[in-house]
C-alpha cells in the first residue's frame, strides 16, 4: 500500500524508456505514477518529477501531476499513503453550480463573500486533505477553506467578485479529486457504505471469535494438556480463522494508527494496532515453529468487541446526525408551478431551487411544501414537525404562512412563494447547524488532547513494564505487554465526551433545539441566571381578546359577532384578535374605518361604532360606565350605537405557550429568572406576575438590558438570555449563552448560540435540562474511564490480568461509555414530557392566560 518504496525504485533504476514502449512483457507491469493503474503498452505520458522520469496511464493523470508540480506541491507524492483516484475526463459539469450561488442566496456576510459546504471525493489519507487544502487556499478569491478529514466535508468561503464556485470545483478536479456542493443524499450514501463495511467487519470478527474460542477451550479445561498433534491442529485452525480478522476486520485500526503516526499524533488506534499486531505475529510464529504460547483467542476477541463498540458508536452518531440532516433533506426537489396564475390552471414541473419569490405553486395532498410562502387558496392542515418538532398538524387557511419542508396533510393548497431555495427558513437553519457541526466543541478538543497524552504515557508505561518483566521472567514479557496495551481504555476516554455531545445534539435537534455554536451546550449547563425578554419572547407579541363584558341590551356573543362583522376587512391587530375570537357570521355595510379611532358601520339595519371609548361615546353622549377606569395593562375598546354603550372589550398580550412552566422549571433547578423589557412598568410587572418572575427591569433600552446582564455577570452569575428582536442583539452578545426563538429575526438567530425552532418556551427548559444532563453524563464517563484505567493498568502491568480478561474489560468499558451517552438520546422525549405534564396542568388551572381584570 505505501507508495514511497516503489517510487524510490523507479527513481533509482532510471529504466530505458525507449525500449519500454516496444517490450510488452515489461511494460505490462508498469503502473501509473499518479493513480497506480496499469500503463497501456504504447503510453507516452511522461514527466520528470522529484528528480526522475515518471510514467502515467493517461493524459488526465499527467495533467494532474503537471498541475501539482507547477504548484510546487510535490511533497504530496512523498507523503501519500495511497494512490490518487484516476481523474476522469467527462464534460464540464461544474458551471451549473454557479447558478446556485450567484443569486446571493447563500450570502454569509454583508459583502460579496459566499459560504458553502462541499463534499470531497477521493480523499484517502491525510496527505490528500493537506494537498487539496493547500492548493485551494492559494486560489485568488478563496477566503477560507477547511477540510474535515473525518467527514470528507469542507467549508469554503469565497469572494464572488474574484472567483466563481465552478472555478474552485474545477481546481479541485485539476489535482485529481472531486468536490460537490454538500448534498444530504450523497452523504447518506457514503454513510450507508461505511455502516455496511463496519457491520461486515464486526460480524466476521464475532464469528471468528466464537470459533477460535471453541478451539482454545480444550487448552483451558484439560488438566494435563491436549495431545501435541491435536493442539497443533487446533492452533493451525485458529491461525486460519484469525488471519481474516487481522487482515480485514482490524484494518481500520492499522490504517488509523499509520495515519496518526504519519501526522505525528498519537491516537487511540496506536496501542490497539501495536497490541494486536504483536500478539498475532508472536502467535503465528509459535504456530509455525510448533512451540510457544498462542493468543489468537485474545486477539480476535479484542478486535471483535472493539468493533462492536465502534458499531454502537457509529449507530448512535448516525441517529443523532439524522435528526439534523432531516432539516436539509426533507425539502422537495421539484414544484408544480402555475404558468399563469390565476388566469389558467396549467402547471409545469420545475426544480424547487428555480422558484423565485412571487411564483405561485400548487401543493398536492401529502406533498412537501417546496418553498416558504403564503397560502392563496385552500384550507388544509400542515405538519411542521421537521421545523418545530411538533407532530400535531397546524390548520392553514388563506393568508397563513407555510414553511418549506413541512408536509401538506389534508387538501391541496395554492401557495405564493415568498422565499425559495437557500433563503427558506429551513435552509437557513440547516446552514447554521452545519456550521456548528464543523467546529469542534472545546470539551471535545480537550478530551482529544488528553487522549493523545494518555496514549503517550501508556506506551512508555508498557515499554517500562516489558523491560521490568524481561528482568523478572522473559517468558511472560509478551503476555504482560499485550495485556497492558489491551486493557487500557483510551477509547473510553476519547469517546466519553464526543459520544455524549453527539447524542445530546441529536436528541435536542429532534425537539427543534439547535445548538448553533459548538460550546453552547457547555455554557448552558452552567447557567445560573436566565434573562427573558418580554415582548415577543415571554409573550407571543400578538394581541389577544381577553374579556368581553356586555353593558347594554346585547348579550356577549352578539356583541362579539357585531364587532367581528365590522372588523372583517381590516388588517389592524385588534381586528385580527376579534376575528380569531370567533362569533357568528354577520355582514356589515357602509363600513368606514377612522384612523386611530375605530370602525363605524351598519349591521342588520343599525349603525354601530367599535373603537376608542371617547369616539364611540360621541355617537350617543352617554357617560362612560363608572368601572371603566383604564387598566394600564390592557387595551380597552368599546362597542356602542346611538342609544348607548353595548359592550366593552379588553385586549392584551398573551403569555407564550410554556412560559409559566419554563419559569417554574428554572426555579426548581436553582436558576434565577428575570424579565427585561422596553415596555412600561405596569405592563412588565403584570407579565412578570403572571409568569411568576420576581425581578427584572422595565423601560429598558437595549443598552440598559445589556448593562443589566453585565451586572448579573459581575455578581458571579452565568447568564443565559432569550430574545427575539434586533434590539436584543447587544444583550444576546453580552450573555454567556444566548437563545433565539424560531420567529426571531434572522440576525438574532445568526448571533444566538442556540435556536429554539418551536414556539414553545418549554423547549428552552428542555434545553437547559438537556445541557445539564449532557455534562453530568460527560463527567460520569470521564470519571469512569479514569478510575477504570488507574485500576486496570497497574494490575495488568503486575501480571494479574490475562489478555482475555483484558480484552473483555477494555471493550466493556467502551461500550459502557457509549451506552451511558446514548441515554441522552431520550432528552425531551417521553420521560421529560411526563415530568413536565403534571406541572403544566397545575399551571393552567392557576392562570390559563394573561388576563387583565377590567378596562
Amino acid at each position: 500500500m505505501p507508495v514511497s518504496p516503489r517510487a524510490f525504485a523507479a527513481a533509482s533504476t532510471a529504466r530505458p524508456l525507449e525500449r519500454a514502449s516496444t517490450d510488452r512483457a515489461s511494460t505490462a507491469l508498469e503502473r501509473c505514477f499518479h493513480c497506480g493503474e496499469a500503463v497501456p503498452p504504447a503510453a507516452r505520458w511522461r514527466l520528470s518529477l522529484d528528480g526522475a522520469q515518471r510514467t502515467f496511464c493517461c493524459a488526465g493523470c499527467l495533467g494532474v501531476a503537471q498541475t501539482i508540480r507547477a504548484a510546487g506541491l510535490c511533497d504530496f507524492y512523498v507523503q501519500r499513503t495511497e494512490h490518487a483516484a484516476t481523474p476522469s475526463d467527462e464534460h464540464d459539469p461544474w458551471s451549473q453550480y454557479d447558478l446556485v450561488t450567484t443569486d446571493g442566496a447563500r450570502g454569509s456576510g454583508a459583502d460579496d463573500r459566499r459560504e458553502i459546504y462541499l463534499l470531497l471525493e477521493g480523499i484517502r489519507c491525510a496527505a490528500c486533505a493537506w494537498l487539496v487544502e493547500t492548493y485551494v487556499r492559494r486560489l485568488a478569491g478563496v477566503v477560507e477553506f477547511d477540510i474535515n478529514f473525518a467527514t470528507r466535508r469542507a467549508r469554503l468561503v469565497w469572494a464572488v467578485s474574484q472567483i466563481s464556485l465552478s472555478s474552485v470545483l474545477r481546481a479541485v478536479v485539476e489535482i485529481g479529486y472531486r468536490a460537490y456542493p454538500y448534498d444530504a443524499q450523497r452523504r447518506e450514501a457514503l454513510a450507508r457504505r461505511e455502516g455496511r463495511k463496519l457491520l461486515t467487519r464486526t460480524a466476521v470478527a464475532l464469528l471468528a471469535m466464537m470459533q477460535v474460542m471453541m478451539f482454545s477451550v480444550p487448552g483451558y479445561v484439560s488438566s494435563d494438556g491436549v495431545e501435541p498433534d491435536y493442539q497443533r491442529l487446533l492452533d493451525w485452525a485458529s491461525l486460519v480463522l484469525t488471519l481474516p480478522v487481522v487482515l480485514y476486520c482490524a484494518m481500520p485500526f492499522f490504517s488509523g494508527a499509520l495515519r496518526d503516526l504519519r501526522i505525528r499524533r498519537l491516537g487511540m488506534d496506536v496501542p490497539v494496532a501495536l497490541g494486536v499486531g504483536a500478539a498475532f505475529v508472536a502467535s503465528a510464529w509459535a504456530t509455525v515453529a510448533g512451540s510457544g504460547a498462542v493468543y489468537f483467542d485474545s486477539a480476535t476477541m479484542f478486535i471483535a468487541l472493539l468493533l462492536v463498540a465502534r458499531y454502537v458508536e457509529f449507530r448512535a452518531r448516525e441517529r443523532a446526525g439524522a435528526a439534523i440532516e432531516a432539516l436539509a433533506r426533507e425539502r422537495p426537489h421539484t414544484a408544480e408551478r402555475f404558468a399563469n396564475y390565476p388566469a389558467s390552471d396549467r402547471t409545469e414541473c420545475v426544480a424547487a431551487s428555480r422558484l423565485t419569490p412571487g411564483d405561485v405553486v400548487q401543493v398536492s395532498t401529502g406533498a412537501s411544501i417546496p418553498a416558504d410562502g403564503e397560502v392563496l387558496a385552500g384550507c388544509s392542515s400542515v405538519e411542521e414537525a421537521l421545523l418545530n418538532g411538533e407532530s400535531w398538524p397546524r390548520a392553514k387557511a388563506p393568508g397563513c404562512t407555510v414553511l418549506a419542508g413541512s408536509v401538506n396533510r389534508e387538501s391541496p393548497l395554492i401557495v405564493r412563494v415568498t422565499a425559495a431555495g437557500d433563503s427558506t427558513a429551513a435552509a437557513a437553519l440547516s446552514r447554521l447547524v452545519a456550521r456548528a457541526a464543523e467546529a469542534r466543541p472545546r470539551a471535545a478538543r480537550i478530551a482529544d488532547r488528553a487522549a493523545a497524552w494518555f496514549v503517550a504515557a501508556l506506551l512508555i508505561f508498557a515499554a517500562g513494564a516489558a523491560l521490568a518483566w524481561w528482568a523478572i521472567d522473559p517468558s511472560r514479557v509478551l503476555i504482560v505487554t499485550f495485556a497492558v496495551l489491551v486493557v487500557s481504555c483510551p477509547c473510553a476516554l476519547s469517546l466519553a465526551t464526543p459520544a455524549a455531545l453527539a447524542s445530546a445534539a441529536g436528541a435536542l435537534g429532534r425537539r427543534g433545539i439547535l445548538a448553533v455554536r459548538p460550546d453552547a451546550l457547555e455554557a448552558l449547563s452552567r447557567v445560573t441566571h436566565l434573562v427573558i425578554d418580554k415582548t415577543g419572547t415571554l409573550t407571543s407579541g400578538a394581541i389577544r381578546l381577553m374579556a368581553v363584558e356586555a353593558t347594554g341590551s346585547l348579550d356577549r356573543d352578539r356583541a362579539l359577532a357585531i364587532a367581528a362583522a365590522l372588523e372583517r376587512g381590516s388588517a389592524h391587530p385588534i381586528a385580527t384578535a376579534v376575528r380569531n375570537a370567533g362569533g357568528r357570521a354577520m355582514s356589515a355595510g357602509e363600513v368606514v374605518a377612522i384612523q386611530g379611532q375605530g370602525v363605524e358601520g351598519v349591521v342588520e339595519g343599525r349603525r354601530y361604532r367599535f373603537g376608542r371609548p371617547a369616539w364611540v361615546g360621541a355617537l350617543h353622549d352617554a357617560p362612560l360606565p363608572v368601572d371603566a377606569v383604564a387598566d394600564a395593562t390592557a387595551i380597552c375598546v368599546a362597542l356602542g350605537d346611538s342609544s348607548g354603550w353595548l359592550a366593552r372589550f379588553s385586549f392584551g398580550e398573551a403569555l407564550r405557550e410554556g412560559a409559566i412552566e419554563l419559569v417554574a422549571a428554572a426555579r426548581n433547578t436553582g436558576i434565577a429568572v428575570s424579565l427585561v423589557s422596553g415596555d412600561r412598568l405596569p405592563v412588565v410587572e403584570h407579565a412578570a406576575q403572571l409568569a411568576g418572575i420576581a425581578q427584572g427591569v422595565s423601560d429598558a433600552t437595549p443598552e440598559v438590558k445589556r448593562a443589566f446582564i453585565a451586572e448579573r455577570q459581575r455578581e458571579g452569575h452565568v447568564v443565559a438570555m432569550i430574545g427575539d428582536g434586533i434590539n436584543d442583539a447587544p444583550s444576546l452578545a453580552q450573555a454567556d449563552v444566548s437563545l433565539a426563538l424560531a420567529d426571531a429575526s434572522a440576525l438574532t438567530q445568526w448571533t444566538a448560540d442556540i435556536v429554539v425552532v418551536s414556539e414553545d418556551l418549554r423547549d428552552v427548559g428542555r434545553a437547559l435540562d438537556g445541557a445539564r444532563r449532557t455534562f453530568r453524563v460527560i463527567r460520569q464517563n470521564v470519571a469512569w474511564a479514569l478510575v477504570y484505567n488507574l485500576i486496570a493498568i497497574p494490575l495488568a502491568a503486575a501480571g494479574y490480568v490475562h489478555p482475555l480478561a483484558a480484552a473483555v474489560g477494555m471493550s466493556v468499558s467502551s461500550i459502557l461509555v457509549v451506552a451511558n451517552a446514548s441515554r441522552l438520546a431520550r432528552i425531551g422525549s417521553d420521560a421529560a414530557r411526563a415530568a413536565s405534564e403534571p406541572r403544566r396542568a397545575v399551571a393552567e388551572r392557576k392562570a390559563p392566560e394573561w388576563k387583565s381584570s377590567t378596562c
Binding site: R192, A203, L207, L233, A237, L241
Partner: protein, 60 residues
Amino acid sequence: MEILYLLIPLSVVLAFVIGAAFWWAVSSGQFDDLEGPAHRILLDDDSGRDSRRTPPDGGD
C-alpha cells in the same frame, strides 16, 4: 478421535461459508434498515383489504 482431523477443518470451512453468506446479506442491503421492517409488518396492506371502504377486488 481421528475424526477431528476432518471436523476441525470442516468447521473452519463452515465459518468461511457463514462469513460469505453474511457478507452477501449485508451488501444486498438487508441490514440497512433494522427498525422499519418491524413496524411495516404491523402496517402493511392487508389492513386495506379488510377495510369496508375498499372491498377486495377478488374476494377472500
